[in-house]
Amino acid sequence: MRAHFRRPIAVLFVLVALVSMQNRASLAAGAADIPTDRAAVEHALNRLAFGPKPGQVEAIRRLGLSRWIDQQLNPSAIDDSALAARLTPLPDRPADIGRGAARNLSEQQRMEAQRRARQFSRQSVQTLAAQKLTRAIYSERQLEEVLVDFWFNHFNVFAGKGRSAGYIPEYERDAIRPHVFGSFRDLLGATAKSPAMLFYLDNWLSADPKAAEQMQQQAQRVRRRGRLGGAGNDMPPQNQQGPRRNGLNENYARELMELHTLGVDGGYTQQDIVEVARALTGWTLANGLDGGFRFMPALHDRGEKKVLGHTIRAGGGMEDGERVLDIVAAHPSTARHIATKLVRRFVNDEPPAALVDKVAATFTKTKGDLREVVRTLVTAPEFYAAEHRNAKVKTPLEFVVSGVRTTGREARDARPMLNALQQLGMAPYMCQPPTGYDDTAETWVSAGALVTRMNIAQQLAPQRAAEIGGPEFQRH
């Protein structure tokens, strides 16, 4: 009996083992399709990393390119401890930056607190920009850094708008970085709730017009009774610098569909924008500008909404916004838009249609699993095709970072590199429009920009200026 029992179990084991081997083989990513020649490795390092470091091409050839790619797709398993020591710490948030602390201050003290807040914001962004370059040059998790750059740019926020700068370090750390190999829906949700995005695209100010009017009146009554500090939990912050909300603000709703998800031709209307904005009313910031995400029911438009053919029933609260994010994340235009942008960034300014289809199909099939989406992209034969090698001109960021990496020299001071990026029009975190920085050669190749690149090469790498400032190094 026992033997009879055992045999089927053994057969089952073998079967399971076979199936899992097969899965692993398919997950190891069409490894057979990945070429192994030197030029292919250089190509991969140019596109999936910020260019090769001295000796790195040989090292990867010994390891095997497909194994290196698998490692890069699972960055948490890569030891990156040496990087941490190189990062300049971010400045501490001043204790008196909060509005609560400022309430009992004199005018002069409040001015001083504001000055410190501005200084903190400025230093935060400068330090973060330096960290970004340090990571791009030295991190072993190169693909993660490239993708953090890609997704930050996709969900761009501008450090120059008011107090945005103070929010940007946590935005990149908490909203972008943890999700670049995660689910697109999670990434979208994290950006939607981030103080940086709520502030940059004004959703924190958006409110149901009727509700906002009542709240203005209520706030005035409260103020007249002298109980400003005791406002109920659902009250928006109302001090003399507080925001005045009495209507809908469409800014985030529009960019959510045009830039973050469906894309400009993705098939939405002005009415969809209004409906999305209504669904997202009440998604705001706690305690004015100083707190995190908060849903304020009193600001929310509870009426029925119709978004892209879906009905969101009346009477909802915060979940109306979540529902909108579900709808746009799962929309077929979103898969196509994200695939097109990824292929443009990683393969060619003119994205080949077959590869876009393939990447979009994975996006749809996996419900936006970004690790699998990127895996499809970087293991496709098209990725390695001869016509796409050296077909892209480096953006200023890619030019500066790959220039430093190729010399292998120590770059302890990021300031000269940041100056270079500013001259080339690509200062980190300083792209004003929500579109983010452009990713095609036409934007970055001009007579003025080439002259600047030649000069930067002489400054950053005097020994190899002719090469790094020369034409071949501008491409990858």
Binding site: D202, L205, S206, A207, P209, A212, P243, R244, R245, N246, G247, L248, N249, E250, N251, R254, E258, L259, V264, D265, Q270, V393, Q423, L424, G425, Q432, P433, T435, D438, A441, E442, T443, W444, V445, S446, A447, G448, A449, L450, V451, T452, M454, N455, Q458, A465, A466, G469, G470, P471, E472, Q474, R475
Partner: protein, 406 residues
């Protein structure tokens, strides 16, 4: 200052009446001296609130729609500067009033793109490509003017003083983009310059090779411009003011400049826009003092120069819940220069009552922005009617505004 500007204007008129106007003669003279008729395009990125820039103070609805951000009527404290009995300049644009008075400044109100997009990105793209609604257009309208107008391939015909080459200037015709004239030089001495020039001339990427060739040629010419530049007017110290100053510097050097481009940023005031104080007031001050300084500094050169301002769309007629304005539709353009028939607000005013508004919310458009582009390119720059079809494909001239002295 005023009297000098009036003199300039009448000087230009005298030249025209003496028969220097025919464009073929002007072009022949220009070819000999390197002096060309000039268009300076200024893009106000972010969508300026045209209703607070050129204020329709004669429109009661304007005040009803904007309880906290309207600009008061002329005569009131901080009121608009009356241009006629209906329109006024924002009070912080006082610097432009002398140009209006000597008829060098015209305004086209309720103008813009009939495309209904309210996306900054799309609308800027359409205005710069010159093809509203068509996203596949690869080049910009100013570049196509350079392509259509002459065989001379000098990159100094088109100069954008900006961080990146603007969409309007992108395309096959060579042009230059730089922050200032002095920075446009390869450092490291003659050897390094020659090495780079040789390497790029042998590059197999045509975009890099061609662009570098233009760069080195332009560098040789720009070295002939004296430095430091001593402008004959005081520009604002802002990036916009400094960009205009560099444009004047290149224009006055007579090295063949025909089209220049500058941008004025940060017009997207969704919250706390302000009226006569605050964000928009500061931006308009910068805009107006910059344009006034440019006009004064160009001096006699203004007689064959047109300066044109544009912005991707206007803003909502009503203020929003945050004392700001959201993305709208119709807007106002300004046209400055010797050849301009100024002192007039052109176009038909559609009104601001709800049924007069576009989609019930924004200033309607009665003048296609391409009507303005068309007149400047044909009447001022002298391009043929056939040529305009290349510059503005798909456009059929709809109306003649008569903006330019022909």
């Amino acid at each position: 200052m005023t009297s000098r500007r009036i003199f300039l204007k009448s000087g230009a008129m005298t030249m025209l009446s003496l028969g220097f106007a025919p464009s073929f003669l002007a072009r022949a003279a220009a070819a000999a001296t390197g002096r060309r008729r000039l268009l300076i395009a200024v893009f106000q990125r972010g969508a300026v609130d045209g209703l607070n820039m050129i204020v329709p103070f004669g429109e009661a609805e304007y005040y009803r729609l904007r309880p906290t951000i309207a600009v008061a009527r002329p005569g009131a404290q901080d009121g608009a500067i009356a241009l006629d009995d209906f329109f006024g300049l924002h009070p912080r644009m006082r610097a432009l009033k002398p140009l209006w008075d000597n008829k060098s400044l015209a305004i086209v109100h309720a103008s813009g793109s009939h495309d209904r997009t309210r996306s900054h990105f799309d609308a800027q793209d359409y205005m710069e490509s010159g093809t509203p609604g068509v996203k596949s257009t690869r080049d910009g309208w100013l570049n196509r003017y350079l392509q259509a107008s002459a065989a001379d391939p000098s990159p100094l015909r088109g100069v954008a003083v900006a961080r990146q080459m603007p969409r309007a200037m992108q395309g096959k015709a060579p042009s230059l983009t730089f922050g200032n004239v002095d920075s446009f030089e390869v450092r490291g001495g003659m050897d390094s310059r020659q090495n780079f020039e040789r390497a790029f001339s042998e590059a197999d990427n045509p975009l890099l090779r061609g662009t570098a060739k233009d760069a080195f040629e332009a560098m040789r010419t720009l070295r002939t411009i004296g430095t430091p530049y001593r402008p004959s007017a005081e520009y604002p110290r802002s990036p916009f003011g400094q960009a205009l100053q560099e444009i004047a510097r290149v224009a006055k050097a007579d090295i063949g400049l025909e089209v220049a481009f500058a941008e004025s940023n940060n017009w997207d005031h969704h919250a706390n826009e302000g009226s006569t104080q605050g964000q928009i007031a500061q931006r308009l001050d910068d805009l107006a003092t910059g344009l006034a300084a440019l006009s004064a500094d160009l001096g006699e050169r203004l007689s064959d120069t047109v300066i044109l301002t544009m912005s991707e769309f206007g803003r909502t007629a009503a203020e929003n819940g945050n004392r700001g304005t959201d993305h709208g539709h119709g807007n106002a353009m300004m046209i400055i220069g010797g050849p301009v028939k100024g002192g007039r607000v052109y176009g038909t005013w559609p009104g601001l009552k709800i049924d007069q508004r576009f989609e019930g919310r924004d200033l309607a458009i009665t003048t296609d922005f391409r009507d303005v582009f068309n007149e400047i390119v044909t009447s001022h720059l002298g391009l043929s009617k056939d040529g305009i079809a290349r510059v503005l494909p798909g456009y059929t001239p709809a109306q003649s505004l008569g903006l330019i002295t022909v």
